[in-house]
């Protein structure tokens, strides 16, 4: 049986474990129909031209893990931003770990999707927001919707700011020979609310792991959401991240994506602007080696006047790695005075590495400022020589230059300890010790 058939037939078994009378189940049922109709995307589709799921589709993924292993905090501490105090929503093989988590209902809700989907007190919010910005057409998103049951649920009421950043961590232990995870997150920031989220998917095993994640983010008027995705997974772990963001007037949503690891990573990051004076910012640093593959697909849909969007993605590709950047900007006719900026700069440090980069602009308004720039280059020989003449060996000199190249993106990380951590990950990835914390 191929993976699609297996998933479709598993839906019946899945229904035994959820409340089929809940309105969300109608959404799931619709979603599985869509997935059944469309199946997995293939390379014939323009959006999947450079990223093939064929190898993953051949794996007989386990869909329902049988049992969970408790993890000791000390064994996984290093994956947390343990330098500071944080709220934590932690899952082990898709199952919530209360032992590793620190949730709250003190003025804000930082808890579980399963709770939000089952308790009456959340029903009204679920009715208003659940699956309202996520695509009902895109097949992988609908696959996730069909099996949506667990994930992070975060609700920040008007004028509230949680005391500390929120970490969402997904561990895969290798209890199953192969495992498909489908977390579903819902994040709502009401008027003037503000929050910071760090999300990480971490495999602890050499077994094949595939995560197909969907996150919906709603930012009401004046809300500020800072979202950091740390993608530094092991080499048999693949991730399809589908993030959908709906913004209202004067809100700011920034998503930083740091992609250093994993086998295949696809980031579908979609912004929909539903108000004026919105800021949508997405930034990324991608550093790959071996045969790693990362595909960034962004969409910003400007649907109201006087808004901005900023995209800045830097990529460094070594060995036989492959990078894809596809940045789509749509400016509706009504969206006058839009400022949309897009930048994608890449360095290839190996002859066998590949980058496919493509801006896609669809502009229907006439009074807008839109700019885009893609560059693909190599390390500057003169700059390397400069550093070498100061006694810095070539390898370290190259690492310093790559760090400098990625620096623009790092500068806007607003949690200093996270920034430090990313710096260390970069130094590790580049295989250098620079004698100071970058």
């Amino acid at each position: 049986m191929d993976l699609k058939d297996k998933l479709v037939s598993s839906f019946l078994a899945f229904e035994n474990n959820v409340d089929v009378d809940h309105p969300v189940h109608d959404i799931r049922s619709e979603a599985i129909k869509n997935f059944e109709l469309k199946g997995f995307p293939d390379k014939k589709q323009e959006a999947w031209k450079y990223t093939s799921l064929n190898a993953l589709k051949k794996i007989d993924f386990s869909i329902f893990p049988k049992h969970i292993d408790a993890l000791e905090y000390k064994d996984v501490k290093r994956y947390f931003l343990h330098e500071i105090d944080t709220y934590k929503i932690v899952f082990i093989d898709g199952v919530y770990s209360s032992f590793l988590s620190e949730t709250t209902h003190d003025g804000v809700d930082i808890c579980l999707m399963s709770a939000a989907l089952s308790k009456p007190m959340y029903k009204q919010i679920i009715d208003v927001y659940f699956n309202k910005v996520a695509s009902k057409e895109e097949s992988l998103t609908t696959l996730n919707t069909a099996f949506s049951k667990e994930g992070a649920y975060i609700y920040i009421p008007k004028n509230k700011i949680p005391k500390k950043p929120i970490e969402i961590l997904h561990f895969a232990t290798g209890n199953e020979a192969t495992l498909l995870l489908q977390p579903r997150n819902l994040i709502i920031a009401e008027e003037n609310a503000e929050l910071q989220i760090i999300e990480r998917h971490q495999s602890l095993t050499s077994n094949e792991i595939l995560t197909n994640s969907v996150t919906e983010i709603f930012a009401a008027k004046n809300a500020i959401v800072d979202y950091y995705k740390v993608q530094n997974d092991l080499k048999n772990a693949s991730l399809i991240d589908n993030t959908y963001i709906s913004q209202k007037g004067n809100s700011t949503v920034k998503v930083h994506t740091f992609s250093f690891g994993g086998k295949l990573t696809r980031n579908n990051l979609n912004y929909y602007q539903n108000g004026e004076y919105i800021d949508s910012t997405m930034k990324g640093v991608t550093i790959l080696g071996e045969k790693q593959h990362v595909d960034h697909h962004t969409l910003v849909h400007h649907r109201e006047p006087n808004c901005e969007s900023h995209q800045d993605y830097k990529g460094i590709y070594g060995e036989k790695s492959v990078g894809v950047f596809n940045g789509k900007i749509i400016v509706d006719k009504i969206a006058q005075k839009t400022n949309a900026f897009q930048q994608n700069n890449n360095i290839l440090i190996s002859d066998k590495a590949t980058i496919n980069t493509k801006p896609q602009l669809e502009i229907f308004a006439d009074d807008v400022k839109c700019s885009h720039g893609c560059t693909i280059g190599q390390l500057d020989e003169e700059a390397l020589f400069y550093l070498q003449t100061r006694g810095i060996p070539k390898k370290e000199a190259a690492a310093l230059l790559m760090y400098a190249f990625a620096n623009n993106v790092l500068e806007s990380v607003r949690i200093p300890e996270l920034k430090m951590r990313i710096n260390k990950l970069i130094a590790n990835k580049l295989g250098v010790q620079l004698g100071f914390d970058l």
Binding site: F385, T389, N407, F436
Partner: protein, 250 residues
């Protein structure tokens, strides 16, 4: 200290240096002058070890050792320093952190431990005062947004920190106003000693009023066509380079 013997070098088959002979001893300051395109900067880069240039004949010796197989960083560890005409900008790496890395890499290569933090701070303070460098400047990203004068002052600050045996100053005067030139030259003069040597590369005589050389060499078409004392620089200023070109033809 430095011996350049009948050096021929070029890039992709184009010869730029055509038989250079030069000897620089400890305690000396040499100036290399010459018109644009005479090979001045190439000579500086070749001594510092730039791989882009191919040496087709001759050799460079430093402290009696042939540098042929020596990388630029190893040359730096041996005590060769090149001040760049166009220093490179490194966003996100502060002047202080950059100096820490450079100094500790050199120490590592010589088999020493990292310099203790307090000693490093003391050294930075001492040398930045020498170049009249503001504290704030040291926490800025290396060369990013620096004015021409700041970049050059920063080059000499690095020289002061690294204490090279041989410092090559490539067009250090270009882009400097008179005040900046005086500060930079002052710094260089304070670093002069009987144990080190300086090779000043310049198009104009102006800098040599402040950093007074023991010897002046004129480079033309990749060859030293005339050598003399500091008076030669004045003569060049007066007559320009053309009379030398004619002389070399004869």
């Amino acid at each position: 200290m430095l011996k350049v013997n009948n050096l021929y070098a070029g890039v992709e088959g184009n010869e730029i240096l055509n038989g250079i002979n030069l000897e620089v001893n400890a305690g000396e300051v040499h100036a290399i002058m010459g018109p644009n395109g005479s090979g001045k900067s190439t000579l500086a880069s070749v001594i510092a070890g730039k791989e882009e240039f191919e040496i087709t004949e001759g050799s460079i010796e430093f402290d009696g050792e042939n540098l042929e197989e020596t990388s630029p960083e190893e040359r730096a560890h041996k005590g060769i320093f090149l001040s760049f005409q166009y220093p490179v900008e490194i966003p996100g790496v502060s002047v202080t952190n950059f100096m820490k890395t450079a100094i500790n890499e050199s120490r590592k290569a010589r088999g020493f431990e990292d310099m203790p933090a307090n000693q490093m701070l003391k050294l930075i303070r001492e040398k930045s005062e020498l170049l009249e460098i503001d504290r704030k400047f040291l926490s800025r990203s290396l060369n990013e947004g620096f004015s021409g004068g700041e970049k050059k002052r920063n080059e000499i600050f690095q020289m002061a920190m690294l204490e090279p045996k041989l410092a090559i100053l490539d067009e250090t005067d270009s882009g400097l106003d008179i005040d900046a030139l005086r500060i930079v030259a002052n710094g260089v003069n304070k670093l002069r000693s009987k144990d080190n040597a300086i090779l000043v590369i310049t198009h104009y005589q102006r800098l040599l009023e402040y950093i007074v050389p023991d010897f002046v060499h004129v480079l033309h078409e990749g060859k030293i066509v005339k050598s003399g004392t500091k008076e030669l620089a004045l003569e060049l200023e007066e007559k320009g380079y053309d009379w030398l070109k004619n002389e070399s033809v004869v």
